[in-house]
């Protein structure tokens, strides 16, 4: 039987730049194929070619028996495509969006009614049909996008990074929906930068810089790393120091913080001795763990970064009195109301000096609102937000001088050059004269920005954009750093680099407040506040939270499972006790 998609010698060039090097591949029906790779690898380009929106520069592609160039129209009728940037009309309601796509796909009569009913049930969007698409949360938008793409009962479904910016609960739902679809015989291609998702696919195509690194079941790649993954748990030392030391070891290929410990991947079995020694020195126990797809990915792509952060080394330790005390960030009965709607209610917590504090929750839970109030982007309706002991409302400038901020979209000035961006941010934070010049040169050197100084930040590769954004936010050596989904949609290697820097800074005394949907990042935190429905429902270290979510069937839950379990528990509690009188 012919495969759903047959690719022969496909190559794609944009001008001089090769986006895809010639390769062959097939995509089968009834299977969930993951398309994985770092940013710029060529995933979107490949999907667009499969959707017959772009023509190959060389080779041929047949989708459902049709050639993508000659029979593009047939492909448009039979393939469902969900582009990366939604493709929803924000000023139309859910129902209006659905109706548009249904009519564009020629559904009518009974078929139309049945399809609508099914899709609305499937996506659980039935109660929201009247809401404008622009007002939906991230997760709901993706579900709507999926529903629109499914409208014509396609035989092939192409999803371009559908889970970016979506909270774990919604992500699970998306998975559930897609798995149902493949059970029904649909071929689904799911492109992602999240490797835990790749692991759950039946087949994975791994792309890097336009080349196929792997095409087959994820296990095939993962199994090659058998016996090379270890966990060092419960060290006496600070786990970040442990990680830094571990990464500097010769035999260690990759390492991340996990709970109260470190997870390492070795170059090969032999190097275990050095690790054992390190663990002994730190008072940690060594456990062998099964390899993950992510380990294989990093290994395949050349290994993770080293442990040293040049910027952190350059930085002087944060002065003890920089924060006017021990509390870096304080939320005191913070409440925000937008008209009738309460976005955050009586949020109350403290972030201590030198801590990495995570703020987690589903979309619409109130964490972005809380985060914005704490860095001065929103004014609270009541309550206080303090940074370094200074009230953001009354001592605004002074407080803001103590904080650094890095946003998901990087907020760099595309019309200025890289150097001009650095000069701007240093000026805005009050650096002058010689000090300013030295600081800028420092940043250029430590982040390796020399070759890009004259270019616009828009043209930088993602990793460098991130470095530049970090450099700009650190220009004034703030004792407190606010990170708003800093690694959303970013590939694992760039993400690790980022956290190497952050960890280095934390070891010098910087306090970090981070929000994220990526649960692995929650592991890097010392404490995590979990919010739902405008309230903080849990606040503890990641390991403690995992313990609370553990069940006999699942004694060692991942952070993602913990999150989902605790949210659901919170929901049940809220139903039993709507006024929230229980603590």
């Amino acid at each position: 039987m012919a495969a759903t998609v047959e690719i022969r010698g496909l190559a794609k060039r944009f001008g001089e730049h090769p986006a895809l090097h010639p390769f062959d591949a097939t995509i089968e029906a009834g299977r969930l194929t993951g398309l994985v790779g770092p940013d710029g690898a060529g995933k979107t380009t490949l999907l667009r070619i499969l959707a017959a929106l772009m023509a190959p520069s060389a080779g041929s592609v047949r989708v459902l028996g049709h050639d993508v160039v000659e029979e593009a129209d047939s492909i448009h009728s039979e393939v469902g495509y969900m582009p990366q940037r939604f493709g929803l009309y924000e000023d139309l309601s859910v129902m209006e969006n659905l109706r548009l796509y249904s009519r564009l796909r020629g559904l009518r009569g009974k078929d139309l009614d049945e399809t609508f009913e099914r899709l609305l049930a499937f996506t659980r969007l039935a109660p929201f049909t009247g809401r404008l698409a622009g007002r939906l949360s991230g997760g709901m938008k993706q579900k709507l996008g999926l529903a629109c793409a499914l409208m014509a009962h396609p035989k092939l479904l192409l999803l371009d990074e559908p889970s970016v910016g979506v909270d774990p609960v919604s992500r699970q739902e998306l998975w559930r929906m897609v798995e149902e679809l493949t059970d029904d015989g649909m071929a689904v291609v799911w492109s992602t930068a999240y490797l835990d998702e790749a692991e759950r696919c039946e087949t994975v195509i791994l792309l890097n810089e336009g080349r196929i690194e792997h095409d087959g079941p994820p296990e095939a790649l993962t199994s090659r790393l058998a016996g090379r993954s270890f966990r060092l748990v419960r060290p006496d030392d600070d786990r970040r120091t442990l990680l830094t030391k571990a990464l500097d070891l010769d035999g260690v290929r990759d390492g991340v913080i996990q709970g109260h410990g470190v997870r390492l991947v070795l170059a090969d079995n032999e190097r275990r001795a050095a690790v054992d020694e390190l663990a002994r020195g730190a008072g940690a126990a060594v456990e062998a763990v099964p390899p993950r797809f992510e380990d294989a990915f990093i290994d395949r792509l050349g290994g993770g970064p080293g442990g040293r952060s040049a910027i952190a080394e350059r930085m002087e330790p944060v002065e003890p009195d920089a924060l006017n005390g021990d509390v870096a960030v304080e939320a005191r009965q913070l409440t925000k109301r937008f008209g009738q709607f309460t976005a955050a209610e009586r949020v109350d917590f403290e972030v201590r000096r030198g801590e990495v504090f995570g703020l987690l929750g589903p979309n619409g839970a109130g964490k972005s609102t809380t985060f914005k109030m704490l860095c001065g982007l929103l004014e609270p309706t009541s309550g206080e937000a303090r940074v370094a002991g200074l009230d953001l409302r009354h001592a605004s400038s002074a407080a803001k001088r103590r904080l650094g901020y890095m946003a998901q979209k990087f907020s760099l000035y595309g019309l200025l050059s890289v150097r001009q961006n650095l000069e701007f941010y240093s000026g805005v934070y009050g650096l002058t004269g010689g000090r300013r010049r030295r600081r800028i040169e420092e940043m250029i050197e430590t982040f390796g920005l020399e070759r890009y100084l004259r270019d616009s930040p828009d043209s930088l590769p993602l990793g460098f954009k991130q470095r530049l954004a970090l450099a700009c936010s650190l220009m004034h050596r703030p004792p407190v750093l606010f990170l708003d989904e800093p690694t959303s949609g970013v590939d694992p290697i760039t993400r690790r680099e980022f956290w190497v820097h952050i960890n280095g800074l934390v070891r010098k005394g910087v306090t970090v407040l981070v929000t994220t949907h990526f649960m692995e990042e929650a592991e890097y935190c010392d404490r995590v506040a979990l919010m739902n429905r405008a309230r903080v429902i849990d606040l503890d270290s990641p390991d403690a939270l995992k313990a609370r979510a553990a069940t006999p069937d699942r004694p060692d839950p991942t952070m993602e499972e913990t999150f989902i379990a605790l949210i659901e528990a919170g929901e049940r509690g809220a139903e039993a006790d709507p006024a929230g009188r229980a603590a």
Binding site: R48, A51, A52, L53, M54, A55, A72, D73, H76, S77, V79, Y81, M82, P83, Q84, R85, F86, G87, L88, Y89, D91, L92, E96, R99, L100, Y101, R103, L104, R105, G106, R108, C148
Partner: protein, 374 residues
Amino acid sequence: MRARRLLALVAKESVQVVRDPSAILIAFVLPTILLFLFAYAVSLDIRNVRLGVVLENDGPAARDLAADFAATRYFEVLPVRHRREVGDMVVSGLLRGVVVIPQDFDRRLATGSRPAIQILTDGSQPNTASFVSGYAEGVVASWLDRRSGLAGTGAASGPAVVLEPRFWFNPEVESRRFLVPGSIAIIMTTIGTLLTALVVSREWERGTMEALFSTPAGIVEILLGKLLPYFALGLLATLGCGLLATTVFDVPLRGSWGALLALSASFLIPALGQGLLISALARNQFVAAQVAVFSGFLPAFLLSGFLFEIDSMPPVIRAVTYVIPARYFVTGLQTVFAAGDVWSLLVPSMLAMLAIGSVFFAITARKTRKSLDR
């Protein structure tokens, strides 16, 4: 099958238009303001021109002449005693013109030699200056004529060419009668070209084009689906302007509403085509806006003949106006309102506009394919 898709796209776009405040602003609020201004503010009808009359002597003839000036309905006369006072007043704009009746006026008149009358104008406002000098000359001439009748030797008023002017289509001679219809062209350009250019390039910027391309909808359906609501909006606006003009602004429509709408429809074709072409090339809102203003709005305002006469422009520019659709629309509008259904003028105008429109669409068709390859 295709009609259904087109209808769906038109429905979607119409909902978006209705929910977009800037579209409502451009299609209804701005036209009302503009019409109002063209009816009252932009007036080429001279009135209240401040004229200084320097009476250097007090003789009866001089005073009689001065009185004639004061009696006209166009001048607001300021009597001045000495010539040297007026200089500053003209410089600072207090006076737009000066008539100097010299000291020896009466004497010269009596002796039969020709007295000299000076008419000075503020040349920095050429239109007013030309009016002042021309009209003042006329006042003097008719004063002389009357005087000759009085002194008359029986030759009655003598041989004279007497011009009897008749202003067809605009007997009241109000500039409003041609400015208001012409301004409809400006409004249609704003809706048809500027708004469309912005809206389509916004769709490119937001990425929804990509999603549409992946459906069976053809490129023609997608583009038509975007344009048809604006076409309807334009016609609605025409109707609205026409109603405002006839009921509120006292500008009668001598032709038929059908002709007015047909004209408007013919203009909307090139206007929308231009907007579409701009957005296809620009794909970016800021650039699209600039190009739309520069190549659509300003020509409609300055080169269409609605305010500034095309015949008076230098030949090169006159040639350029032949490819500006607004030019034909303005002539058509002024005719349909003031003259009536002069088909011998309306039909060629409509054909010209349709021809230009088809060129725009042809170019756009070449430039837009259902592909993300640039």
